[in-house]
Subunit: 644 residues, 2 copies
């Protein structure tokens, strides 16, 4: 079979491929990450590339305009190479890993939401007030007495004896053969002064590391929220609880599809699981490398990683086949992941460092939700509370300290800026606030205050709310038929121009299409109706809800009135809403900093029951009723008034 | 540097070496094991080879006779090659791994000692009577219910739930990532019918294996006694306690020295530890391969190996530096070895199979002694008892169920046939019983009833006893000055010919030299005086001893009267002596078959205190007094009468 060399620009990365390889597959092999919401099915039209040189064949697609085709654009997933080629990946097709971190600082500067530090400080405080500060991996310094003929216990027993003495506890201790192999010389060279790193697992305490001298001040851990779209990591000093830095990158798995279902499907391809596993591990290792090098932390001093994520993400992270998550009756292989060496998963910290994962509840209610419940304190509430986590999936928990019930709402990634025409994550250049005047003039605010590049979740909520308020769309989401410079007709129906190409950074109009509105409507309907069904199942309604926690990346900036206006949130007393931000990351931080929180997360996951919406006879009716703005039943939203 | 090829015969094994490589080192590289009691110091004269072809240089040595030199013999350790060479290893220089197994069956046929089966049956019985039969690794079959939308716990939780249900126990369960990775598909392909292998470690029960279908009838384990000179292994069916076979081979480490001290010294050479580690692992894997293939047992069905051995042997087995065992204050790195995957040590059974080691007491009182105490039942005795284990080292335990005290006697390998002129292990052709008439005619009995090849431990005890009885040696061990065809003068003093070359299989006289007698005298003195000192330390004497257990390879055939005559055993009521055979192997079998025995072995090791003889002011006096036959103080041996 012929072999060709493809060079990808602007990365200038080369890869050798065989004939019949798609450009998307070649890019994956080359380690170049192309946006592909549909996972290579030719549906989303995100993977646009320009063929600079080389022979290719492609398939017809409605996802490229005639203008784009004239510019030499192709969809990477539908295009096959037949010679050496030079291919340029368009900016909008690239998975851009840098912007998220910028975004992080940009938002902090603008003070638009509780900055990461606040959440972090809160987590640290909670560790003191609710959970004891005993990190998952605990370092401490020991001075052993040297052996004598009279005191001739073995080196290992001497170490064990001192640990028990210092900890004032008859613990069951163990360590690995590799530690034992170096122990004799290490103890003597260190003149019996060593630092041990302990990790408790079940009834056994493992000595993870034995280091010469006093290194107890150098002990770091990372908390990760592994999202379908975004991976966030936080570096913490385990000796004093201080947060050192936080960083987020796109999950490189986005190349293989934007939601968990397309990822599970991709996993069934040859090497599919392996590739996605490496993509997520690469993303995590990037964060680790960046945070540690930025803050001059030695990787060997990082002794623990705590992870949360939805069940599919954690399966992929650990290279566990997620196939059965998607097949009825939707069974994950594992909800409670065993603690292990981080190295076993490919995560690069100290080779003997530990990885713990926050346990999940079910196939579609993962450890991220458990971490959210832990972080929100819902599990301690006396009164009935609700938690919604809006990410690529939507999850709902209803309960209090007595009981908790959960369900998954197939929200889709629309609120994360995926699957919508001008959608983007809440990063630099994202339109995050929108106001539309009665004259249809649009005022917006972008993250970083520069030219707009797209619209993020909160921007969409504002936009739809304003479109409704101004009567530009009707309650079903259709754009009215009016001749106006902001309304145009595209291939998929009418479109509303939020920002003209003259204003934008990309040189393209930033728009919202009827298809986008349909997408967003479905997402809000799924979440609203899920909460409603759970409450109903328990014989409650929204008036019984005491606190309504909102988690998820976009929740850090959200106009509640607008969210109620579109029917995403119920029409209730605003004081009941509590923003959590990334509660999964915050909860994982708690776990990292406190063994008690880790134990509590197990309890929480065990206590939350899972409610399968698809088997509830009322769910589909309820969902259909929510496919209007704000809802078919207007009596549920007495305070919402539209122009039309 | 020049490179040469050496071919070793009769193995016909080739190896490439650089100039200045000794023949002994080349043989080690080639995987040819040459006897070398002194570990290559040119002292023992055991490593005789014939250079058939090639240029060599050698050093002068008194260990080769002029006749031998004429035949082209060299000592492998003192000889360096300077060209390609062909080298023949003499039969007596070879570490002969085959004879021990032959010996095993030969002895059984002759019924000379409790055959292996008896010991094995005893072990099995004891498992039923004293310890519950719960093997270290336990297999059992499960039929899980298939998941439904109503019963949607994860695959792993489903498995855990069923195990807890069947075992009627809320145990803390865990399994490895690799098992979890294959779990989803395995459970479904097996239609939810699987066999699990459990291993309990501390408070946690690990699922070692998950196999499709019912494989519970296929569960095997191996018990090993890793001796300095001999390694014995026993294959056991863990489902029904049946012993399947026993096999012994020489420890290939003998190439590096005959006793633990020379091995520890060798370990400090470059790659020394690595080489010895591989030698012992090779020896063990040979036994495993032979036993499993002979009995058609699949290696994957072997789920556990239990090991005992002296502290140095277990350090080398696990590639732990033994340096500090030899340096005052004689501290081993580890006495209680953690359970681990057998694979971590290099032992080849099921890759997920488990290795447990019987814990030791001190640097010179190892797990073999703990296993012996376990097997003998000394730890349960009401009355004062003694256990001596005579191998390459001698160990002594004195105590009962209230207390136990132990010490190490530097006996040396003389009773194992090493370090004595015609010495050999108790294998085919070994003279094991000797009678000398008043006319100095020698009647002997060999193992296998064929022509003699050498003398084993019990043969030496008989010989010395008879030499004393007939007045051929005096109480200091000197051969009397008389002109007799059985007495000759060699390089190292007088020698007594036990069998003439015409009778022998090797064509050489089989002799006992004054140096041999001195060696054996020192060994018996060390053991006797150790027991005496321990008793004295506790304010007891031999008359207080209720039972006197004798363990060790040679103890399976031993004439007690003769052993008392030479002063190895005290002169006491014969009914108090109990032969244990290889009590280390028997005890290790108990551990393999019963978790309770494993726990008990920990208790025993923790309870036995170690007494360092070298710091006791009386020991040297007592030892010196024992350097006569039977003892300087004849009043201690009232029943022993010599001719002279």
């Amino acid at each position: 079979m012929n072999k060709f060399t493809i060079t990808f620009y602007p990365d200038n990365k080369k890869v050798e491929v065989t004939e019949e390889t798609t450009v998307l597959a070649a890019a994956i092999s080359a380690g170049v990450y192309i946006n592909s919401t549909c996972g290579g099915d030719g549906v989303c039209g995100r993977c646009k590339v320009i063929i600079r040189k080389g022979a290719v064949t492609t398939q017809p697609t409605g996802r490229l305009t005639i203008e784009e085709r004239k510019k030499g654009m192709y969809l990477a997933c539908l295009t096959v190479v037949h010679s050496d080629a030079e291919i340029e990946i368009l900016p909008e097709s690239r998975l851009d890993f840098e912007h998220l971190s910028e975004h992080d600082s940009a938002l902090r500067l603008k003070g638009l939401f509780a900055p990461a530090e606040d959440v972090e400080i809160e987590a640290s405080d909670r560790v003191s007030s609710i959970f004891s500060f005993i990190p998952v991996t605990l370092k401490f310094y020991l001075e052993l007495s040297a052996p004598t003929l009279e005191d001739s216990v073995s080196d290992l027993d001497r170490l064990y004896r001192e640990i028990r003495k210092v900890k004032k506890e008859t613990m069951s201790l163990e360590t690995s053969l590799s530690n034992i192999r170096k122990l004799g010389e290490l103890l003597r060279l260190a003149e019996w002064k060593v630092t041990v790193t302990l990790f408790r697992k079940g009834g056994i305490t493992e000595i993870v590391l034995i280091e010469p001298g006093d290194t107890s001040c150098k002990n770091y851990g990372l908390a990760f929220d592994v999202g379908t779209t975004t991976i966030s990591g936080r570096l913490v000093n385990l000796q004093n609880k201080h947060v050192i830095g936080t960083k987020a990158v796109y999950n490189k798995q986005a190349t293989f599809g934007s939601d968990v279902i397309s990822r599970i499907v991709y996993a069934q391809q040859e090497d599919g699981l392996e590739k996605m596993h490496h993509a997520v591990i690469d993303s995590m290792n990037e964060i680790i490398r960046d945070l540690t090098s930025e803050h001059a932390v030695d990787l060997n001093d990082v002794t623990c990683v705590a992870c949360s994520g939805n069940t599919t993400m954690l399966h992929l992270l650990l290279r566990i086949d997620p196939t059965y998550i998607r097949r009825e009756p939707y069974i994950p292989t594992v909800n409670s992941f065993p603690a292990m060496r981080a190295l076993e998963s490919g995560i690069k910290i100290n080779p003997r460092g530990v990885l713990v994962c926050v346990p999940g509840v079910a196939s579609y209610v993962g450890g991220d939700v458990t971490a959210g419940v832990l972080s929100s304190g819902l599990y301690r509430e006396e009164a009935l509370s609700v938690l919604i986590d809006i990410g690529t999936n939507g999850e709902v928990v209803v309960g209090n300290k007595e009981f908790m019930i959960s369900s998954a709402a197939s929200a889709g990634p629309a609120f994360e800026g995926s699957g919508v025409a001008s959608g983007m994550r809440a990063s630099r250049g994202a339109i995050q606030r929108v106001e539309i005047s009665s004259e249809w003039e649009v005022r917006y605010e972008t993250i970083g205050a520069g030219r707009p590049r797209g619209i993020c979740g909160s921007g969409y909520i504002d936009t739809i709310s304003q479109l409704l308020t101004r009567g530009i769309i009707d309650r079903s989401g259709k754009i009215i038929d009016r001749d106006h410079r902001r309304i145009r007709v595209g291939e998929m129906g009418r479109e509303f121009i939020v920002a003209f190409k003259e204003e934008s950074e990309t040189g393209n109009d930033i728009i919202i299409t009827e298809a986008d509105i349909e997408n967003l409507k479905r997402a809000k309907a799924a979440i609203y109706s899920s909460v409603h069904i759970l409450l109903k199942h328990l014989n409650f309604d929204f008036s019984d809800v005491h606190k309504f926690f909102i988690a998820g990346g976009f929740g850090t900036y959200l106009d509640i009135d607008h969210a109620v206006t579109i029917g995403l949130l119920p029409d209730m007393d605003k004081s009941k809403f509590v923003f959590l931000g990334n509660s999964s990351l915050a909860g994982t931080c708690l776990v990292l900093l406190s063994r008690e929180a880790l134990v509590k997360s197990d309890e929480i996951a065990g206590k939350i029951t899972y409610f399968e919406l698809s088997v509830d006879s009322n769910y589909m009716d309820e969902y259909m009723s929510a496919l209007f703005f704000p809802h078919t039943d207007l009596s549920r939203f007495p305070n919402v008034k539209y122009a039309v």
